[in-house]
Symmetry: C2
Subunit: 197 residues, 2 copies
């Protein structure tokens, strides 16, 4: 019995799946989506590639499952912020999520793995779902004929700002937070004359 086969035996049912996803997230944070590698995931988890294939048919399927986790985590973070200062708090939470999970964020919202694959289509659907949630949150606050444009505006500015932050283009940590808060404050000015409440 080889070393990796022994190691496989140490995983309880379901734990190997979790270990694979945890390692994939580690790799994402170390080097972004290009760092995802089935071989490296298997090495870190301490199993053979075929054992990993037992849970996921390929690397794209792992990326898809990790992105699903990410969209769940992000939704929970935004829900938690909803009780705060409305859109500003949600904007800060959104960008905070991107900063704390930059590799995962790139996978979820930027050019991840092959866009034309099954995983790519699944990712597109997850993004569309996230956008629909934002649109719905805006509905009670803005005129109906403006909802789509305003939701897209908020998504554009938070997405752009998140990427500028994780690409290191907003300066050091403290300066970045200050600038993010300022940009979100400016962002809100476009909404205030419209708010129906």
């Amino acid at each position: 019995m080889s070393r990796t086969e022994q190691h496989e035996g140490t995983y309880h049912h379901g734990d190997l799946r979790k270990a694979i996803l945890d390692s994939a997230r580690e790799l994402l944070e170390e080097g972004g989506p290009p760092a995802l590698s089935l071989r490296e995931i298997a090495r870190r988890v301490g199993v053979s590639a075929p054992a990993a294939y037992h849970h996921f048919r390929n690397l794209e399927a792992i990326a898809q499952a990790v992105a699903e986790q990410g969209f769940g985590d992000l939704a929970a973070k935004l829900d938690g912020a909803r009780s705060g200062d409305g859109m500003h708090a949600m904007g800060m939470a959104y960008i905070g999520f991107a900063q704390a999970n930059s590799g995962l964020y790139r996978l979820m919202f930027s050019d991840g793995l092959a866009a034309k694959s099954d995983a790519g289509s699944a990712l597109q659907a997850m993004r569309a779902q996230a956008f629909a949630t934002l649109r719905k949150a805006l509905e009670p606050q803005v005129p109906p004929d403006q909802t789509q444009a305003l939701a897209l505006y908020l998504w554009s500015v938070t997405h752009g700002l998140a990427l500028l932050a994780i690409d290191g283009q907003l300066g050091g940590a403290e300066r970045a937070q200050e600038q993010i808060a300022q940009v979100l404050e400016v962002t809100g000015r476009a909404l205030s004359p419209l708010a129906t409440t």
Copy 2:
């Protein structure tokens, strides 16, 4: 004499450099920054890899030179739009550039090659220069204590919107253009109460 050596002989001085950059831009538009490969560039140009190394010390140096071209092209496009409807026209021009050169745009503004390399530092400097130009264009129009936040706001929203557009998240071509114009119109609302003119 091998086929590639014959081919090299057909390049006039300076033309090989241009052919290398043209091929790199082709590859960028076909598959984004990950598609850049010195081997493939050399193959397309019809020279050996060492012949390509004569002009560029490595792939990163090619990427840097292509990004420089891109920042020059973008600046020219924005200058051309300046005579139009101010910020709105410049926003449309910026996003139009990203749509027409999506792989190049990703290289210029998103996670391109290794951020910590010489080419990565050069890219950061080019981005900072582009941002300084935007900041300067805003100066005559907004209060001095708001210039930085407003410039960053405009960069965030156009960067985010450009990436959503080239990632195919704004729908088909016509729908995308309509939505881009709407988002830029909303974006301008945050500026109008501040304008000093």
